[in-house]
């Protein structure tokens, strides 16, 4: 631990050292060389300096100095023009926080995020920070890929309770903090009020329980039959993934990822109940053509009024619908309760990679991204800031305040829960074919889920240290 501390403080002393000397104008290479020679000596100096002094030093150093460092941040595409959002943020960071930290953003494809991170770590050249999703972080933690943030949090008195309960639960593993959530991508259900009305339903009321869900979607199918409209009740993408089409039903039915004795919970009673509910949606309420879809066309389908009720999609759907399908009368539906009221609490987090050589500078950047820069970032991409202090500003932002759907969505934020366990995405990969098997009738739900749970128990659980549910 002490070596990590020393490591963490290095930049400060390095800067201090440089401030006092006349090495202005040297390139990064020269800097590295100097830092390399003077290391032991510097660390000793640090040990004698009380914490408060260091803080003061830091502030001074953040005034224009000459040595620039560049940190590398991997993000995933959230829109077609991500840099248009990042550049003003980086400029602000350089203006308000630290002009000497250059930020390089690499936009890494979402579908390749794990391969990219693995490869970079394997080759000993990880980025300094990245957008780490909740399905990734525990797997990285148990392999010591991420740096614990507790020291930094303590140093800057970061108030962890400022984060909403869902995001707060996505910060730690094994008793240590590893992530600063900066994007709250909880999901909600959406419904089309026009189709609701055409089917004789009250457009102000969306289903709150599975029973009501069945009743209302049945009414919509009846409306379709009678020619009142041409929309299906719901939607199911047969080749889609567990997050979209399994999680809401499974967790609402009271399921848990792993049982108490550390086995997969997918084939539990809750799992079977979820499967039955999914089959009901597929057989009774959905366009059969969806069985061959990978889910890429679901959002445009909602915009084209091809179905009325859409469970569990991201908040960015609001922006998409308003942009491409203006004039559609839709709203956020209430999160349903089976045994539990649950919706997927997707979370984008910033971490520091253990292999980063610029941990202090990285901390400054990720604190900015999860703090001052956070509001702008979330508004631009159509998500919600995960901190209460920022939510207060979020709701009075003109764009948000003028958008009743966005305001409505906030009510569901408290139900957005986070699932975490080492090997989580791997479990999703095993579950996905099982879902396909029972949806197309290749296997019964029980056969398919038993098979999946068995594979998870054998191949994934226990492969990583501390693989218990979280």
């Amino acid at each position: 631990m002490s070596s990590e501390r020393g490591n963490g403080r290095q930049t400060i002393t390095r800067r201090r050292l440089l401030k006092g000397s006349a090495i202005a104008g040297l390139g990064v290479v020269g800097l590295a060389a100097i830092a390399g020679c003077g290391e032991t000596q510097i660390v000793e100096v640090i040990k004698e300096v009380p914490v408060e002094v260091i803080k003061i030093e830091t502030v001074i150093v953040e005034k224009p100095a000459v040595q620039k460092v560049t940190i590398l941040d991997w993000v995933h595409p959230l829109s077609a023009e991500d840099m248009a959002v990042f550049q003003p943020l980086i400029d602000r960071f350089n203006r308000d926080v630290n002009p000497n930290i250059e930020i390089r953003i690499d936009i890494v494809p979402w579908s390749n995020r794990i391969q990219k991170t693995m490869g970079a770590v394997a080759a000993g050249a990880p980025p300094d920070t990245a957008y780490v999703n909740v399905d990734e972080f525990t797997t990285y933690v148990v392999q010591d890929v991420l740096e614990p943030l507790d020291e930094f949090v303590k140093k800057d008195n970061v108030d962890l309770d400022d984060w909403l309960p869902g995001p707060r639960s996505g910060m730690d593993w094994e008793g240590k903090i590893y992530e600063l959530p900066h994007l709250f991508a909880f999901r909600v259900a959406y419904y089309n009020k026009t189709i609701w009305e055409k089917s004789g339903l009250d457009p102000a009321k969306s289903p709150t329980t599975w029973k009501e869900h069945t009743e209302m979607l049945t009414a919509i199918m009846a409306g379709k039959e009678s020619g009142a409209h041409d929309a299906y009740g719901g939607v199911y993408a047969g080749l889609g993934g567990p997050v979209s089409y399994w999680n809401p039903y499974f967790y609402q039915a009271g399921g848990s990822l792993l049982t108490e004795d550390g086995k997969s919970g997918y084939n539990s009673e809750a799992g079977l109940a979820a499967a039955d509910k999914i089959l009901e949606v597929v057989e009774n309420f959905s366009d059969p053509a969806g069985k061959g879809s990978n889910g890429n066309d679901t959002r445009s389908g909602f915009g084209q009024e091809r179905f009325a009720y859409h469970i569990n999609d991201e908040l960015s759907l609001i922006r998409l619908i308003e942009k491409d399908y203006a004039g559609i009368n839709f709203d956020v539906a209430e999160t349903m309760t089976g045994k539990v009221k649950w919706t997927h609490g997707g979370l984008g987090c910033k971490c520091i990679f253990a292999g980063s050589k610029l941990k202090d500078a990285t901390w400054e950047w990720i604190q900015f991204m999860a703090g001052e820069g956070n509001l702008e970032y979330n508004i631009a991409f159509g998500f919600v800031p995960p901190r209460k202090s920022n939510i207060a500003k979020y709701v009075i932002d003109p764009d948000v305040a003028a958008n009743p759907v966005k305001i409505r969505a906030l009510k569901e934020a408290e139900f957005g829960r986070v699932e975490k366990a080492p090997g989580l995405w791997d479990m999703w990969d095993v579950l996905k074919p099982a879902m396909q098997a029972f949806v197309i009738g290749e296997k019964t739900p029980k056969e398919a889920l038993d098979e999946a749970a068995d594979k998870i128990d054998k191949d994934i659980v226990g492969r990583y240290r501390g693989a218990t549910t979280g």
Partner: protein, 292 residues
């Protein structure tokens, strides 16, 4: 004499028969060929037509083969909002770099294997040839680690070298050069020319057809490569076109028109290379296959 007349008569009869059959047969041949041609082209036609459609008209029935109100919006989006020109440039560099590496190294080695004598020549050649059977899957993981350690991740040379390492070029060039008579080279050598001069001044110019064929084959393959660029690049500005399309497809769900526009942008240059070098292309395939 009688026998000859007989033969001539058979010939005549079959000629007449052929004439009669010919009309029906030609019709049948054309029919099958046209069907095959349509099947081959239809998806591209659909791609092109979709790229000129507004999102709202994409899902109309009956399908519009020629958009009623064609729009350039998808291309405008592609060129204004994505780095498509950069991706195209990257792809072009990768294509040229791979083709140039394969051609130069391949013809040098091919020449040596065909025309120079040195101990172990055949062992080396067949050793290299075994590389043709290695599936790329085996190599991805170690190659990736290697490239990162060599600091070549996210660089165009990092994409190019592994793609140019296969023995295909050596093989094709050797096959071609085997057919060049030795006397020609010997004459030059008697004149006192250095081996490299012989290679550069005589062998290379004589190999133009094979080089064109090989170059076209490699260029098209490099232009279309996907897995390796996918693995080895993470920076947006290092993307190649195929990668950009797959990301469009996966990340920006529902932008079908734009996706098809991007697919068109990736397809057209390959088509042009093919149409320009068609003749060599066909030769190249024949060379790599038959004469081996």
């Amino acid at each position: 004499m009688a026998e000859i007349t007989q033969a001539v008569r058979i010939r005549d009869r079959s000629w007449v028969q052929r004439r009669v059959r010919f009309g029906a047969r030609a019709a049948a041949v054309y029919l099958v060929l046209i069907l095959m041609g349509i099947t081959s082209l239809l998806p591209f036609f659909w791609m092109l037509s979709t790229s000129f459609k507004e999102t709202e008209t994409l899902f109309e029935y009956p399908p519009q083969f020629i958009p009623a109100e064609p729009t350039l919006a998808n291309y405008a989006f592609l060129f204004n909002r994505t780095n498509i020109l950069r991706y195209t440039l990257n792809t072009a560099i990768v294509t040229l770099g791979t083709a140039a590496t394969v051609i130069i190294f391949g013809s040098m080695a091919g020449y040596a294997f065909a025309k120079l004598k040195f101990p172990g020549r055949n062992y080396i050649f067949f050793g290299l040839l075994g590389g043709l059977m290695v599936p790329f899957e085996v190599l991805i993981i170690p190659l990736f680690v290697l490239i990162v350690r060599m600091n070549m991740a996210n660089t165009l040379q990092g994409i190019i070298f592994p793609m140019a390492a296969g023995p295909f070029g050596i093989f094709v060039m050797r096959q071609y050069l085997l057919s060049i008579p030795d006397e020609l080279l010997d004459a030059a050598r008697v004149d006192g020319a250095k081996e490299f001069t012989v290679f550069w001044r005589i062998v290379m110019p004589m190999s133009k057809p094979a080089i064109a064929a090989l170059g076209t084959l490699i260029a098209i393959g490099a232009w279309n490569s996907f897995i390796w660029p996918l693995v080895v690049t993470s920076r947006e500005e290092m993307r190649v076109l195929t990668l950009a399309i797959s990301i469009l497809q996966l990340e920006y769900r529902g932008l079908y028109g734009t996706m098809m526009a991007a697919a068109t942008v990736a397809f057209v240059p390959a088509l042009i290379i093919f149409l320009l070098f068609q003749r060599y292309f066909v030769q190249g395939i024949a060379l790599s296959g038959i004469k081996g």
